[in-house]
């Protein structure tokens, strides 16, 4: 069996095969301030009274918080009151929260071998820890909250093997954008993606989260990476529960396999309006920009902040650009301050926001006007995603985003003059 199949098989207590419909017990159920209100409404209709396990239902109001308007405040209030009524162990309030997919691994709530379902499409992020995690809608999540179980079809696995040495400034975001560019936004539709190979083994944990996070952008149901020493070192600091490691058997059957030589990959930029519309940075041309966003569940971790700060240190944000830095959690923000990164951003003329999904989905904290362009470390560049329907989002990693903020156009770090020049 593949890694994905092995985790699901351990949960149902029998071997599984792709295409099989199974009823799976879940280890964690997640919803946010946008999806929980509908999930709560549907949950109440089921009539069970209490959630299946108050330790395993997690609610994170991260999208439109701190509350951006009255309707959002009311949605958050519904979530808060439900959490109190249900005496949920893991409800996170503004000031103690983070973007859900940055927060949950950091808090040790997800461990390898788990099955996690979340009413958020980027729930697939936890695949980086060797967990089977997938996004669903509110009604599915209502059922999981009530019963602790969910039906799903065992997905076939699409394996990606990355070899070779990464070039300077190339990180997890560039690898995943390149991959989506190769296979398209439905290239892994309904499949579990498994990222493997020597170039993954040498990839830091934060970059792995970025890759698994964007599996959904290729239509993937999950984006898994087997546990290795990098994962174990991360878990030693964060995990709150014992965990079980799984990996693909040597004779596992993969629906497809794609080998990628990462030494050929330049920093990537996904042009509007699909994440698959990628170009290497050398072929971008001269595109002036109005805004840069550095953050999100894709690139809001401390590794991302360090990379952006490395480029912004001693430099200034271009006069025509608003640069908005959003650490993914309170912990990331605290670390950013400890390491002096906050000061680097402030000195460069960037705004620092409290953790929120905010502009990524055009919620608040950086909405674009008609015709404006943004280089963003987020995950989607669909029409109207960050604001007006004629605005444009260019997806990139933190290095390209920071360099673009300095130069006022989409650019790679190699194009920057030395900070003292």
């Amino acid at each position: 069996m593949t890694l994905a199949e092995a985790i699901l098989a351990a949960h149902v207590g029998a071997p599984v095969h792709p295409g099989q419909l199974i009823d799976v017990p879940v280890d964690l159920v997640l919803a946010n301030d946008i999806t929980a209100p509908i999930a709560i409404r549907e949950f109440e209709k089921i009539g069970v009274g209490k959630v299946f396990d108050r330790d395993k239902v997690v609610l994170v109001p991260d999208h439109f918080t701190p509350n951006k308007d009255i309707p959002s405040a009311e949605q958050c209030q519904q979530v808060r009151l439900f959490a109190r009524r249900q005496e949920l162990t893991h409800y996170f309030e503004v000031g103690r929260l983070g973007i859900e997919h940055v927060l949950l691994p950091e808090q040790g709530l997800v461990v390898p071998g788990d099955v996690v379902v979340g009413a958020d499409s980027h729930t697939c992020t936890y695949g980086a820890l060797g967990a089977f995690a997938t996004g669903m809608g509110s009604t599915d999540i209502a059922v999981a909250m009530a019963t602790g179980r969910i039906w799903m079809k065992v997905p076939p696995t699409f394996r990606f093997i990355y070899r070779g040495e990464r070039r300077p400034w190339v990180g997890g975001k560039d690898l995943i954008l390149y991959t989506i560019g190769k296979i398209g936004v439905d290239g892994a539709r309904y499949m579990a993606m498994e990222f493997a190979g020597p170039a993954i083994e040498s990839l830091p944990m934060d970059d792995r989260f970025t890759m698994s996070n964007m599996a959904i952008e290729a239509g993937g149901k999950a984006g898994l990476i087997a546990v290795d020493d990098v994962t174990r070192a991360y878990l030693a600091e964060h995990a709150r529960r014992p965990y079980r490691e799984f990996r693909s058997d040597p004779d596992a059957v993969f629906a497809e396999t794609l080998e990628i030589d990462v030494s050929e990959i330049e920093p990537q930029v996904a042009f509007p309006h699909l994440p698959s519309n990628t170009r290497p940075i050398s072929q971008v041309g001269n595109i002036p920009i109005d805004q840069v966003v550095i953050g999100s569940c894709t690139n809001g971790r401390i590794g991302d902040m360090r990379l952006a700060a490395e480029i912004l240190r001693g430099r200034s944000v271009h006069p025509n650009v608003r640069c908005i830095v959003i650490p993914g959690s309170q912990e990331v923000m605290r670390q950013m301050i400890r390491e002096g990164l906050a000061e680097v951003f402030l000195d460069a003329g960037a705004a620092i926001s409290t953790p929120t999904c905010g502009p990524c989905l055009g919620g608040h904290m950086g909405i674009l006007a008609a015709g404006e362009r943004c280089v963003s470390t987020t995950n989607r560049n669909f029409i109207g995603r960050m604001g007006h329907r004629t605005s444009e989002v260019y997806l990139a990693g933190p290095a390209v985003a920071a360099a673009s903020a300095v130069l006022g156009r989409i650019a790679g770090p190699d194009e920057l003059p030395a900070p003292w020049a």
Binding site: L21, I34, T35, P37, I38, R41, E42, K45, I46, G47, V48, H63, F64, K68, D69, P71, S72, Q75, G118, A119, D120, S121, T123, G135, M136, G137, S138, T139, D140, A142, V143, A146, T147, W151, V185, D186, R189, Y190, I216, G219, K221, L274, L361, G362, G363, I367, R380, F382, I383, G384, R385, R389
Partner: protein, 167 residues
Amino acid sequence: MKLTGKAWVFGDNIDTDVIIPARRLNMSTAEELAKYVMEDLDPSLAGKIEPGDIFVAGKNFGCGSSREHAPLALKGAGVACVIAESFARIFYRNAINIGLPILESPEAARRIRQGDRVTVDLSTGIITDETTGEQFQSEPYPEFILQIIRAGGLIAKTRQDLLGGAA
């Protein structure tokens, strides 16, 4: 059960942000969301859709976010059914769960033209383009999905399962 309506034709990869942008997700009922359906593609579209109309789209319809608001907005706007070459996974589950009929038929998706009158027989999966007379057979639902549809959605099915049919 048969549905007949006018076809609205769209391309590939219609994402959930286009179906209902996130700026509208501070609402959660079908009626409220319906006013803004597809607004970033065509701000006037919501006003032109008539109850019973049918959406026809290319591949990967509903890709992107998990927002159940997307099928809710379509249902609220009166869209009776979505026919597509293929659907994104989460959208497929959401549509079935809330009772928005969806059918997969690459042929129908390619052949049906904007404004054609289309009839869909949900019990047989046969799609008829009344304007051209062409007929298409859609992919049949797996038995488990049929159980959800017959129960009247996932919540109703869960109640049945939990209460042993007493619901």
